[in-house]
């Protein structure tokens, strides 16, 4: 009696597992057929702040219906998107259109995840060369820039006035440091930026790095050391708060928004927030060490077409990309994202509608891609030791020269 009960249980469990397995197997064949459904195209983008009711998603749907297909769009956290894309590509589950941050394009290209613009028949002639460079590897282009942003110095007019600083006199590093000294002496805080141990930190450091004349292939040059020494000096003298070591660009902006700071290094995307700040603000380009404008790194995403087994899909994907980056749509998109357009025609339109954008347009035209100069996938291997060195020097655990020498050794070893 009892033995048969036990056997009964075993039998039932095995049946249950088998049943589950076959049910799931049935759905597998259904889904394989579903994925090949001609009418549905997937788009992945790094803008999770936009939901289905936003202008961005409506634009995607409109481009989809213009091309005769339905769009399935997913927004991802931008720092996650690379890994998700690699995982999906490994499983042959890549999206049809992928919008991704520009320094990552060369990594994905090297992994063989992206098609070239020749393969997908995309037209990149109108995009400005310095912006396009970030998406190029080995002489081939892998996507179209959707827009660009870059860094500049926001300043608080009231704070500068109270400290007796004329912003027009801030032309180079010496005059900037002087201004910070005056502001601090007047009881306010000098400057805030982001020096966090991630790509954001490197991004914020690069204008000063390049502004000193340093190059990413030699992290321990005297010019590089002078750039890092500038930041370390500000921290020790109290012109910049200690929290910069852990600040993201958002946190840094929040500090500026309290109205206690004279300067903030931040990007185009804060323009909307700047207008809401409640005090009068202005913008100056980041000065170079001896004067002039320091080259700032380009931010902004590229629209790419990942490799698919069913190559006949490229034609429709290309139509979607062209729709997203067309002149009219580019203007709407870049206004929503607070980006500067990648083509001179649309840039002119932006400046015509909002003259305060001229400073940003000029900055973008002078900007450099992080992966340009043929650095490609070497850039991540250089960026990480760079931000590690910044953190070590700013937190006082190593002097600037030692930190950068160690960083150069790591970068050189990793780049082999």
């Amino acid at each position: 009696m009892k033995r048969s009960l036990a056997r009964r249980i075993l039998f039932v469990s095995l049946v249950a597992v088998t049943a589950a397995g076959s049910a799931v197997g049935c759905s597998r064949s259904k889904t394989k057929a579903g994925a090949a459904e001609a009418g549905s195209f997937t788009i992945w983008d790094p803008y999770p702040q936009f939901d289905a009711s936003s202008g961005w998603v409506q634009l995607l749907n409109k481009c989809g219906s213009d091309a005769g297909v339905t769009i399935k769009r997913t927004g991802f956290d931008t720092s996650d998107l690379t890994n998700k894309t690699l995982l999906a590509a490994q499983q042959a589950n890549s999206p049809d259109v992928l919008i991704v941050d520009n320094p990552v394009v060369s990594t994905l290209a090297e992994a063989g995840v992206l098609t070239t613009t020749d393969e997908a028949k995309l037209d990149t002639s109108a995009a400005q060369p310095n912006l396009l460079a970030a998406g190029q590897l080995g002489g081939k282009t892998y996507g179209v820039p959707i827009g660009a942003n870059t860094l500049a110095l926001y300043y608080n007019k009231a704070v500068l006035q109270a400290a007796g600083v004329d912003v027009a006199s801030v032309k180079d590093w010496a005059s900037l440091t002087d201004a910070l000294a005056k502001v601090t002496a007047a009881g306010k805080k000098g400057i805030t930026f982001s020096a966090i141990g991630t790509e954001e930190g490197s991004f914020q450091f690069l204008p000063w790095f390049w502004g000193a004349g340093a190059s990413l292939t030699a992290l321990d040059s005297p010019q590089a050391v002078s750039a890092l020494t500038l930041w370390v000096g500000w921290l020790t003298k109290g012109y910049a708060p200690n929290s910069v070591i852990n600040n993201t660009q958002t946190t840094s902006w929040q500090e500026f928004a309290t109205g206690q700071y004279a300067f903030a290094e931040n990007g185009t995307w804060q323009l909307g927030n700047a207008k809401k700040a409640g005090f009068e603000y202005g913008i100056i380009p980041i000065p170079g060490i001896q004067g002039g404008t320091a080259p700032a790194p380009t931010g902004g995403e590229f629209v790419t077409i990942p490799v698919q087994k069913a190559t006949e899909r490229y034609a429709t994907s290309a139509k979607l990309v062209a729709c997203l980056t067309s002149t009219d749509n580019s203007y709407t998109t870049d206004t929503t994202l607070s980006y500067v357009a990648p083509t001179s025609a649309v840039q002119a339109k932006q400046v015509a509608a909002a003259p305060e954008l001229k400073v940003w347009v000029d900055a973008v035209q002078a900007a450099k891609g992080r992966t340009s100069d043929n650095l490609g996938t070497k850039y991540p291997r250089i960026s990480q030791p760079l931000w590690t060195a910044m953190q070590a020097a700013l937190s006082g655990s190593k002097p600037a020269q030692d930190a950068l020498t160690a960083a150069q050794a790591t970068a050189a070893a990793a780049a082999k």
Binding site: A6, S27, P46, D80, G278
Partner: protein
Amino acid sequence: MTGKRTWWHTPVAIGLTAVMLFPIYWMINVSFTRGQDMRKSPPNWFPVHGTLDGYRAVLDQQLPYLGTSVVVGLGTVALTLILSAPAGYAMAKLRPAGGGVLSFVLLIAQMIPGVIMAMGFYAIYLAVGVVNTVPGLILADSTIAVPFGVLVFTAFMSGIPEELVEAAEIDGAGYLRTFWSIVLPLSRNAIVTVSLFAFLWAWSDFVFASTLDQGGDHQPITLGIYHYIGNNNQEWNAIMATAVVASIPATVLLLAAQRYVTAGVTAGAIKE
């Protein structure tokens, strides 16, 4: 035991709870704070010039996510109990050969980092077709709780006196009957403990949700929060408001569950 010097217990307990929950208070504080006061130095202990923007955004957008989280949480509890309670009974009372090895394997199973599990599941789920579905997420979240559940049930069920089990056997009950009518009712403590952890782990899971349900039509609240974490800007008052609103139904469930535990303990105490 009770009575005499216990008047101070409640105030001290309230004090301890207040200290423990202070970060929660701070979270609520931030959820009402305006953008320009976020990094004020020194910070406001109370949100003067508060704003309801965060809550407005949450109530407009996050309620479907909350619903999905509740479904996923309860589903994970059910699945975990169904899988782990019988296994715990077998390990505790039926002494299988190789039980020690199984215990060890269950321990190892919990050592695998969540991110590695998620990457492995992605391939399986794609092949099987359950990626971006709620049942798939429930299955994935249960892997966090099942080994723990088996270990807890084994530990608790071992404490049930052998005499009760043998008495049932003499009365003619089979193993299934013994499990269902005798062992399970006496394991109420373990059931509530395992359910609690399974629910909490599923509720706050991010790794599995992010890898396996990112494109789904129904997403849990841990993904819903990313509405406010844009590629360049984060809206902290909305993020904290989401967390506050998300905690309310779960807290209610928690308070209800603990009352059941107390009742269960006093009703089902085993007398020697």
